[in-house]
């Protein structure tokens, strides 16, 4: 199952890159925010909305990081089962496929949930009062 080791290494690398992007994006936004505050600059609605995209980017990347962690965990369980008894490989492979499909579905669901209004250009701006 050497190929799974390669997949695991690749997933780990993607996760590292995403964590770096989250960190850089956060630092960038906080520096801009401090600059605006220190210079008492007034931001218009478009700029304010754009600055908020950083939060959505972070949530989206964190959701995919969770998916990566889940995939790596499933692969680890499969690899362990395979090493223990190769005759169980077929059954373990089926379980792995089911887990990966569940992970994918969860990740897609979070993509929609965490997009907010950024997913739709025609999103209603009205605040809903109860």
């Amino acid at each position: 199952m050497l190929i799974l080791n390669s997949v695991d290494n690749l997933l780990e690398h993607i996760k590292d890159v995403q964590e770096d992007v989250i960190s850089l994006s956060h630092d960038s936004l906080m520096k801009m925010s401090s600059f605006i505050e220190n210079n008492k600059l007034e931001v218009d609605d478009d700029i304010s909305t754009s600055l908020q995209y950083q939060d959505i980017i972070t949530q989206q990347l964190n959701a995919t990081i969770e998916a990566i962690d889940s995939m790596r965990s499933s692969i680890e369980i499969f690899s362990h089962a395979y090493k223990s008894d190769e005759s169980l490989a077929s059954e373990s492979m089926k379980k792995l496929e089911e887990k990966l499909n569940t992970t994918l579905q969860d990740a897609k669901d979070k993509k929609d949930r965490f997009a907010g209004k950024s997913a739709s250009e025609n999103a209603d701006d009205e605040i809903e009062f109860f």
Partner: protein, 124 residues
């Protein structure tokens, strides 16, 4: 001045709300963890309006709201949810817990100011 507290686990989200509300006639406090805000409220802090995110680690927005409603001083304090979530069932859940309103991120600054003005009955 009325006190508005903002709760969000994202530092950048809090920075965005601060930028928008800085010119309003309100006092603000910000919390990265709902449990910290709730602890201060349980210790006697009495906000006039609470604006909270939903998806947060340890204590989410609904759990925070339940906690608020158990404190006599904040049993009826207006509370707005500021979140990326748009599902109707979540809004219904919030409404059942006594939520005042639902704002979807990214918020429109004018709309957020308008909501705060309306809830606190500030001069327009």
């Amino acid at each position: 001045m009325p006190l508005v507290i903002f709760v969000d686990d994202s530092e950048t989200a809090l920075a965005s709300t601060k930028m928008v509300t800085t010119t309003m006639p309100i006092e603000t406090k910000q919390y990265l963890r709902a449990q910290d805000a709730l602890a201060e409220i349980q210790a006697g802090l009495t906000p006039d309006l609470i604006i909270t995110d939903l998806n947060m680690p340890v204590m989410n927005g609904f759990e925070f709201l339940k906690g608020l409603r158990e404190v006599a001083a904040t049993k009826r304090t207006p509370c707005l949810m500021l979140t990326t979530e748009t599902k109707a069932e979540l809004k219904q859940q919030g409404k059942a817990l006594g939520l005042t309103g639902w704002i979807v991120k990214p918020f429109n600054p004018a709309q957020l100011k308008s909501a705060i003005t309306r809830v606190l009955r500030l001069p327009a």
